[in-house]
């Protein structure tokens, strides 16, 4: 009952259980944080708007993104993954979401930023429905913790639209 093997086993089990418990509590404490992120996006310029050889529309635009995501960081946060997506509807598809830009925010100091960038990923439609299309720009964030439950949310900014003719 007091051999080395038994003691090692008991120690290991207890330490693993205690660790698991601490991880669970750390994750649970994330529920109590008060979060109020804010963001604003402006389309600076539509650089290119044409129909590809396959028949799909493609847009290239420059965005000006201002955001304050500092309130999302808790002591249990490892990083926040933020991305901007365009959401719109077409006759064939009830929902299209295309991610245009993303960034990894490693800590609170970097969470308040303003960046002007052209879209990192190609904005291509399934079809050629984009002329004059109205769309929402959404800023999503995905909080990745040091341990435990991840959570994600978004801000939807409606009211953007594409020009009526190819450029």
């Amino acid at each position: 009952m007091h051999s080395f093997g038994y003691r090692a086993n008991a120690l290991l089990t207890f330490s693993l259980t205690a660790l698991a418990f601490i991880c669970a509590i750390a994750s649970f404490s994330d529920n109590f944080s008060n979060q109020n992120p804010s963001a604003e996006i402006q389309i600076v310029n539509i650089n290119r708007f044409k129909k590809q050889s396959y028949g799909n529309d493609e847009v290239s635009l420059t965005l000006d993104i201002t955001a304050d995501l500092q309130s999302l960081f808790t002591w249990n946060t490892k990083q926040v993954f933020a991305f901007v997506a365009a959401e719109y509807e077409t006759p064939k598809n009830s929902l299209n979401q295309v991610s245009l830009w993303d960034a990894i925010i490693p800590d609170k100091e970097h969470a308040k930023f303003r960046v002007q960038t052209s879209n990192k990923y190609r904005f291509i439609d399934q079809g050629h429905n984009l002329r004059g299309k109205e769309f929402n720009l959404t800023l999503h964030w995905h909080v990745m913790p040091k341990t435990g439950k991840m959570f994600a949310d978004k801000i939807v900014m409606p009211g953007y639209s594409l020009p009526d003719a190819y450029k």
Binding site: A85, N96, I104, Y121
Partner: protein
Amino acid sequence: MGLVGETVDSIKSIKIRQLLTQAVTLGMIVTSALIIWKALMCVTGTESPVVVVLSGSMEPGFKRGDILFLTMTKDPIRTGEIVVFNVDGRDIPIVHRAIKVHERENTGHVDVLTKGDNNDVDDIGLYADGQFWLHRHHIMGRAVGFLPYVGWVTIIMSEKPIIKYILIGALGLLVITSKD
């Protein structure tokens, strides 16, 4: 002669009974582990409720050796979700983020494009030849939680099988030599 024979018999019977008890105990442990695993599969709705991250394509968020907890609900797939999918013909599941979603009117059929956070290009190169989108039946689950470092045990055991045998041998030895 009869007394010796009786003693020998009683010793043998004790040993057999003890052996059987130990075998049953071992069987109970293995079976309850299996029950817990299957119950987890039911609760989370996916065939593999826990996966180990094997590559560095989602760093710095998920490093090699972390474990991810997955669920699968009937909710539609949206961008930003970290999905686990199997490509036809490959047996290792891949954990990446959905960056493009096109959902059809009425049928709910969805085309999804994924990309690892740490990769420069999207996953089209990983899909099967001629495949440009993932569909719902490729996706096994969504990641909802994670624990760091715990997955190294699995990685070590699969990359150096010797360690697996040593562990099982040691466990077996412990069970056999224990007095209860």
